[in-house]
Symmetry: C2
Subunit: 363 residues, 2 copies
């Protein structure tokens, strides 16, 4: 089956292009969708240049703004859009997917799979489909400004993957492991959803660098933007996430352990680990507050953390203070605009029912 597999990659931003290029490099048929034609302006005339951790040149089989054409006949539909588009993409996919297709969110951020599951159930109750999510993007990547080159600054080791129902995780993993030798299975999609390291690494450091961001000054997000005090703060923030996981019977990896496992970074604390993570060295900080590092990773990371914690009857004081402050800075009510338990279809369940739901795919 593997060699003839067809992949639809939804979204042609940094992550989507990196995924498309990688799959093509691995020899599969790849169809790349984006809602904006300009994304393909360069790639329709020239092959995609793959650089850094992969050195190659590839031609994507189809680049289209027609979602149906992209998805038709694909074995896997890999969603690599901004996660704020998940609900809308789920709705549009629900109208065109067939039972034999598999949807993978790359990444899902917190609750992505649960949102797809809910939307599919509401719009296509007949559809029997497995949905899975990666805990983060497999690639630390940026596309060059001109659109010519995909830089693979890092290909992560040990990225977790889980499906709903959880029983299907291993089945999909058997297919995927030949393509992505770096992935591992997770207990369930709560594990991958709570392993949203972007929500730890992105919003707070952006907040603590607003001054220079709005002064138009460029800086390296991980090595300059995350200073010793900020790194120390992030360790505390992260420990709230790990605590939340315990209420869902999950042993989540602290960010420090994850960095060491994923990038082979060395260091006694988060600051040192980040300084020693080569893949991060060239990643620049946001140049505006309207950036996924603070908008998306708050709405689809910190906010669902807060909602899930409330379900467990616990407070996350650092996460909540941070989330509230970001909301006041962005001038939006992030708690009500972000992903909540209703979006994920789990508002009426108790904690044990949520655990059962992600295991069985139904109550």
């Amino acid at each position: 089956m593997e060699d003839s597999m067809v992949f639809a990659v939804i979204g042609a931003g940094n992550t989507g292009q990196a995924m498309a290029g990688y799959l093509k490099f691995k020899g599969f048929t790849v169809k790349l969708y984006d809602r904006s034609e300009w994304r393909f302006k360069y790639l329709k005339k020239n092959p995609m240049k793959l650089s850094d951790e992969i050195e190659s040149s590839q031609k994507i089989d189809l680049m289209t703004t027609d979602l149906e054409k992209a998805v038709e006949g694909a074995n896997f539909v890999i969603v690599s859009t901004t996660t704020t588009a998940h609900a809308e993409i789920a709705k549009r996919l629900s109208e065109i997917l067939t039972n034999d297709q598999i949807v993978l969110l790359h990444p899902g951020r917190t609750g992505g799979t649960l949102i797809f599951k809910k939307v599919f159930k509401e719009n296509r109750p007949d559809l029997k489909i497995t949905i899975g999510e990666f805990e983060s993007s497999i690639f630390t990547t940026r596309t060059s400004i001109s659109g010519t080159t995909v830089h693979y600054y890092g290909i992560k080791a040990g990225v977790h993957f889980a499906a709903i129902p959880a029983g299907n995780t291993r089945k999909i993993f058997q297919i995927l492991k030949g393509i992505f030798p770096q992935i591992e299975t997770a207990q369930n999609v709560l594990y991958t959803s709570l392993s949203n390291y972007g929500s730890i690494l992105h919003p707070a450091p952006t907040l603590f660098n607003i001054g220079r961001i709005e002064n138009g000054l460029s800086y390296a997000h991980y090595v300059e933007g995350i200073t010793p005090s900020i790194a120390n703060f992030l360790e505390k923030l992260d420990s709230e996430r790990v605590t939340l996981g315990k209420y869902f019977k999950l042993r989540l990896k602290p960010l420090t352990v994850w960095l060491s496992d994923t990038y082979g970074s060395n260091g006694d604390n988060l600051y040192e680990l980040l300084q020693n993570t080569k893949a991060y060295h060239k990643i620049l900080g946001p140049n505006t507050l309207q950036h996924r590092y603070i908008v998306e990773d708050t709405l689809n990371g910190l906010v669902p953390f807060v909602h899930l914690a409330r379900k467990c009857g616990i407070g996350l004081p650092i996460t909540e203070s941070l989330t509230n402050l970001i909301g006041h800075l962005l001038g939006i009510d992030v708690i009500s605009l972000g992903r909540d338990l209703n979006d994920m279809g789990i508002a009426n369940m108790d904690v044990q029912q949520i655990i059962d739901y992600v295991s069985n795919g139904d109550l």
Copy 2:
């Protein structure tokens, strides 16, 4: 009386030196105290150079690390130390003050006078003394690194002053107005304490600039460090302060109005006003997180705001989120370490009793 008046200035940092130089320039006898001899290293050998808004050269009459010598025979004792030292200074002063002396906190930050009042009452119940406070430093000032020159970047207009009991405000004002024509009387010390503009202008912008602060990058605090988004946030933060004032029957000036009144700045919003405040142009941001802009102005500004709001039965969501986040970043429990109602001697009073207390100096 005026010409022969003697002033003791306590604290020889930026504000204390500016006060000492100004009073000397006005022709009074000035004794300057600091706990650290190195503060006087230059000034004991050379006259103080006054620059910018005042151009002069003055010799301070006495510079000493002996508090008793500084205070002895002074008509006014002007406390210009960091306000985190208030309780200790109050205790030491309580042992040496005499009934005819007047203590002025320059500035008091939030609750300064109330703290002095409480400490004096506990340590010297016999002492009948008037204590007053300025809502902010009269001077926007910095001493040059070499210690040679006091730069008066701005001399503020309309700085409010109040004493406890409030009935004494006007009496002291009659003496002071000839020296500081720019001051105005306020209703009571709650007004001056809640007009703590530093607590709005300093901690949050410092928080939002931690990245470059810890990268060792210099920036102008008010014109670069306070960007449009940050200024917009500060306006919301400030509106909580103004709301708090209403519960104490005070009509506080919004920060925007205060800037316009104090510096004659123009602009449609806080960002524009700050950009157009010349006195602020050369004021640099902190070069460390261990800086009064974030430590002192949180502990002695934002924290007492939170405690006073709780007394009123209201929440200040922006102030509280900000305060909590700063605490987590500094790694200290700011809410319990900062000024609370017990420190101010008003913990057991209700709101009306607090208003009566600041009016009458007793319940």
